[in-house]
Symmetry: D3
């Protein structure tokens, strides 16, 4: 009996989309105002989905407090009120698009949430744009 439990969190960060292998005109053409050299920012909303069996002792797939603490340690404490391009190891070389941020968050959490649990991450960059990654 496999159930999915989902937990929401959020962090607020600055970023800039930029490919250093391209010249300024190409960056501007591809990334538009997201390429602003002085950065812009977002309230990122995160949903972490963990799928597994219900533990008959607790009635839990996973203790939501444990999951919430893990999200804080691995994601929010690292990215909240940061400049993703300048302040984090992960995005010094990697372009901080929503897609790449979502994959990085999945990878950090996957290192702590092992099989047989399945893991999916949903990341809202704005209310209108969001991305999902499930490790495939």
């Amino acid at each position: 009996m496999k159930v999915t439990v989902s937990r929401k969190a959020h962090f607020n960060a600055a970023h800039r989309l930029h490919n250093p292998q391209w010249d300024a005109a190409t960056n501007q053409q591809v990334f538009g105002k997201c390429n602003n050299a002085n950065f812009h920012g977002h309230n990122y909303q995160l949903i972490v989905h963990v799928t597994g069996p219900i533990d008959p002792q607790t009635g839990y797939v996973m203790d939501m407090k444990v999951l919430a603490d893990l999200i804080d340690e691995e994601v929010c404490d690292r990215f909240d009120h940061k400049n993703l391009n300048l302040d984090t190891e992960e995005f010094r070389e990697l372009n901080p698009t929503a897609e790449n941020i979502c994959v990085v968050i999945w990878q950090r959490l996957r290192a702590k949430i092992n099989n047989p649990f399945e893991l999916k991450v949903t990341l809202y960059e704005t209310e209108r744009n969001y991305v999902e990654y499930a490790g495939e």
Copy 2:
């Protein structure tokens, strides 16, 4: 041509997380403030997802009013403004975690929504925590 139709509903209930096979200290350690002997409560938000072919006569997978009435009969009329531990058959022995409530709701609806329809239930315990079960 398989389409999924989804219908939201809600019920407000009291509950307490507790494993009667454990002593008070273990219950407190595992369930924390959710173990409060006098209960606490939630506005549960429910989404029922039914997948099947579109009926060419109606353009419906299933009449949403029929689905809404079924959710009321099988779920809301039973659980709304109730104490899940004390007032319901289903959770007299079974710990009313979001996971277990979600599975119980799926089972009640599955008895009324037959194959070839697929059924999934999403249950929000709070805005930040939710669970899903699809019968696997």
Copy 3:
């Protein structure tokens, strides 16, 4: 590495549910107040989900501005502030249920978003009722 990007949009339209092969009493019985001869309407909320690999040059699965423009051209510019039954080619013969509207939107977008991208469309008719179609 497959990631899903999702983009929200909306359009406001009038419609009437009606099967011209049935008499008035049957239409009233099946569609109830949705059969009102003078139409009613909705704020339709749309989410378009595109799944594919991340382009290593851009960090994008698909440029969200390109996707947003495509949704405007193929969906919102055609359906917004329209009477679906009277003003659109698609629903002159086809009953404009949420299910049928969702499939039509999927088909219009599928013609523009080719393999290997996967495509799914979610359509909210109200906050409580929504449908999804992924081409299966």
Copy 4:
């Protein structure tokens, strides 16, 4: 001790903005796509706010079930799944802008919710546009 209680409701309707004293070109210029002769529609969201003293016997300003029933009788049963221009007395002559709909709803409710209660009505035409009227 004055407290305000607020209750949400909704209705789905078709409408058209039009001033019959103007020619077609002026109507098109002023109302744009909202002037579509075949109508369009909205999911109207309504919030009714009633301000008054707390009854020491009940702890209520007003029983929310009584207020909800009154909103159904005076507003939703009249306007839900209707064409405001064609199916209602109120908007046969009066242009059904959000402003005018809000004032009409306030007037209908004011006839039933007497002094010393204060009354305010909020009406969402879309998620992005809403209006308020308090009788001043």
Copy 5:
């Protein structure tokens, strides 16, 4: 230059509406299913609004972290995961309607947020029902 700053918080609690001076039939007639002897519960959503001048040194009316901590101490730590009727001083005698809870929260915060700040409290009992109190 007076600006209002608003901060959201939440707590989950069980309660029962009951007037001990009435017999069971009257309580049932007035409070309906909210009178259930075994309690039910809600996710209460709280918004605290503080109005005052902007401090030219900080650009703040009030530090939101200070306000958030105060709400936790005075409200959430006392009411979260509690049975309002059984576990709190405030509602042992006072019927825990949304109106009365809102006034109690306002009084607790007013003792800590002094003039010249103005204070208003909004309390959502469900998504559809909410109350407000501003001390008048």
Copy 6:
């Protein structure tokens, strides 16, 4: 007959809270992680409220398209995808707290929306924190 019309908009920006008259330790103590030298960011949500009489010719207080265009010109085109501290005239000297941003937006709009219209601005910095200014 005075009605309030409200229009939502949004912009995404980077900022840093800092008082240049203070040393680094004081800035860190007062503004905490909001003082990060490399900036962070938010999805700002804006609601502009205009109160006035209903024009009997149009049924409008103000044409929402005119109001939406004005908000774009005066606010979103200036602040969206910008670093408020580095890229804008308004916040080169003024600390870009939510309170100060809200007042600046009100002042810019007030120059274009004249008496007898009343004007109020609501600005959400996050889902949990928002501010309002009405010119008093």
